[in-house]
Structures are given as C-alpha cells and as structure tokens.
Symmetry: C2
Subunit: 200 residues, 2 copies
C-alpha cells in the first residue's frame, strides 16, 4: 500500500463539510448520516460498482439505519435488490430469521441483527455496504448471517473507514475485498489524514 496523491470525491467532501468535535470526533452528518447528499451517494455508488466490477453480485446487504441510503443508491449501479438487517424486534418480521449478535462500542451494548430466511440463501453472491467501518463488529455480524445462509460474500464496500481502528485490517487479513471510499488514518489536533491502498 502507498499514499495516494489526489483527493477523491468523498475525501474532498469530508475536508469541506466534516466538522471536528474536539480533536478526535469527526461529524459528517451534514451529508452522510443525518442529512444525506443523494448526488454524492450516487457518485459513491458508481465508485463502488467500479471497484467490484469483476464480481458477480446479485444482492446487497446492509444494516439499519444509516447504511440503508448508501446501499440503496449504490444498488442503482449494481441493479440488484438490497436487504437490510433489522436491529429491532418487529411483529412484522418473519419468525424464521438468521440472527447474529453485534456489540456496539458507541452504545456499549450488544444487540441482535436479523434477516428473514426468505431473503438470503445459498444462491446469493452478496456485497455488504455500510456507511462506516471502525471495529467491524456490524460487518462481522452481517458476514455471520451470510455464512448461516450458505451465501457467498463477494466483498465489503464502505463509505468512511476509521483506519486507526482494526475492523478493516481484520477483514483484509481474511482475504475479503474491502473497499472504503475514504480511509481516515489519523484525527489529530483537528487535522484529518487519509490513507490509501494502492489502486489497481
């Protein structure tokens, strides 16, 4: 891996509209996870499609809530349906579900994610898409569900990876294709430093 030279679309936007809260928290809720810049998402989806163009993907899997928008817009480029794992028990969810436990460091508790067995099976070739990758617990839960279904994981597409946490590293060590549109290597004294993996 090496450092890239030119800023990419999402990196530019993070520098322009990301807000530092204190010296270590970066807020991107003006365009990524509260207010959503759909045109940006469309271009991000195009980039993800390009990165996974050699994979035969027939389904995108994400997790509620803030993964849904980027997964849905990206799906327009992949021309496949999206399934989102549910975090809350719902009367409306089928009883026959794949389940996995996910620990949230943000909320400091474990929650259960669920996907109906109707919507994931051994014929599926699945791309996981989410807005953030930090410690990777949510993605590991989604992979657990894909494995339970006997489906094939084709890769993981992420908007912003926190490169100073080890979720991405653990996934790449398992030979999973992980593509993050921006990887933040360091947040220090209000400065953002991006990391690049070598382009093909």
């Amino acid at each position: 891996m090496k450092e890239g030279n030119t800023l990419k679309l999402l990196e530019e936007r993070i520098l322009k509209d990301g807000r530092m809260v204190g010296e270590e928290i970066l807020k991107v809720d003006s365009f990524l996870n509260h207010q959503l810049d759909i045109e940006l998402f469309y271009e991000m989806g195009r980039e993800l499609k390009e990165k996974f163009k050699d994979k035969k993907i027939n389904k995108i899997l994400t997790i509620e809530a803030s993964g849904i928008a980027i997964a849905s817009i990206a799906a327009m480029h992949f021309k496949v349906p999206v399934v989102f794992a549910k975090k809350t028990e719902s009367r409306n969810l089928d009883k026959e579900t794949y389940e996995s436990k996910v620990y949230s460091f943000t909320k400091q508790k474990e929650y259960t994610i669920r996907v109906s067995k109707r919507y994931m099976n051994e014929n599926d070739r699945v791309l996981i898409i989410d807005d953030f990758l930090a410690n990777g617990k949510a993605v590991q839960g989604l992979i657990d569900i894909i494995n339970q279904a006997g489906a094939k994981l084709e890769g993981v597409g992420i908007a912003i990876e926190k490169g100073f946490q080890d979720g991405g590293k653990i996934l790449r060590q398992q030979n999973i294709q992980v593509e993050s549109l921006a990887i933040i290597e360091e947040l220090k004294q209000g400065q953002i430093k991006f990391k690049r993996y070598e382009e093909n």
Copy 2:
C-alpha cells in the same frame, strides 16, 4: 373521489408479491421494507415527482428506518437532500434538536424523534416521504418538527396507505397534499381492495 380502473405499478406489485398473513395482515417485505426492489423504488420516486411537480421542494424529510430507502431514491428525481428523523438517542446527534413524540401502535409505546436544528430551517420547503401511512402518528411528528423549524410543508408522499385507518383522512382534512402510490381500502378474507383518489 372515484374508484380507478387500471392498476398502477405498486398496486400490481402488491397483488403479485404481497403475502397475506391471516386475513388482515399484508406483508410486503419481499420488495418494500426488508428486501428492497430498488428499480421499483425508482419508478415510485418518478411517480411522486410527477405528483408534486408544481411544488418548489428543496428537502425531503423521512424517518428511520424503512422510510430512508424510498426517500433516498425519490430524492434522485427531486434533486434535493434527504433528512431522516432519528428514533434512537445517539452520542453522534447534535444536542440542539427539534423533537417530537410519536406513539407507535405496532410497538405500543411512545418514542421520540429528533432532527438536528442544523438541517431544517425557515427557508426549507419540505416533502415528507414514508413507506407506510396508517394512523399517521409518525407523519404528524414530522410535521411538528417542520413547524418547530418554521419550515413549510409542501406535501406528503407515501408508498402504501392503509385507507381503512384514519391517518390519511386527517391529513387531507388539513388541506395537506397527500399522495399515496397505493391505498388499501380493505383487507378481507385474504382479498385486497384498492382505493383511488381522482387523477388530476
């Protein structure tokens, strides 16, 4: 109002892929709120844009989780950002928020929805989009937030309205433009009957 004659896109899909559970519950999770048919959403978004073509809308407001996908895809036609109200308290949400209480009949409890004050103000002309309209409590909560922000409500766009509950009626009585892509008038003995409002 009168009954329409030809089935519309979403109505056709409900008849084809909706599943009746018992005689009174219609499940649409194969294409609308668990697995998402993004191509269908794109056409639904086109219909919503057509219905609100005379309104100057600069923002779409929805509520997590299952409203996010239809709002985001519809936003591609409106070319405006989406804001989604959050249902859960989050460390990442600003402290300065508009809040409203919403009672959920499905979950039989009240919850609080929140929108950061940064993302809604008196210059906004807002279209609310959600996947379902039944008793209308969620939409009323979103309208409350729009009012607190001093923004202008331009209308409400819905995928499926349960016409046998009174949410849509109450909104229309307030002279709000409510456009539902499918209105279920009756679910009886496993049969679905749609209702139509007169086309312009």
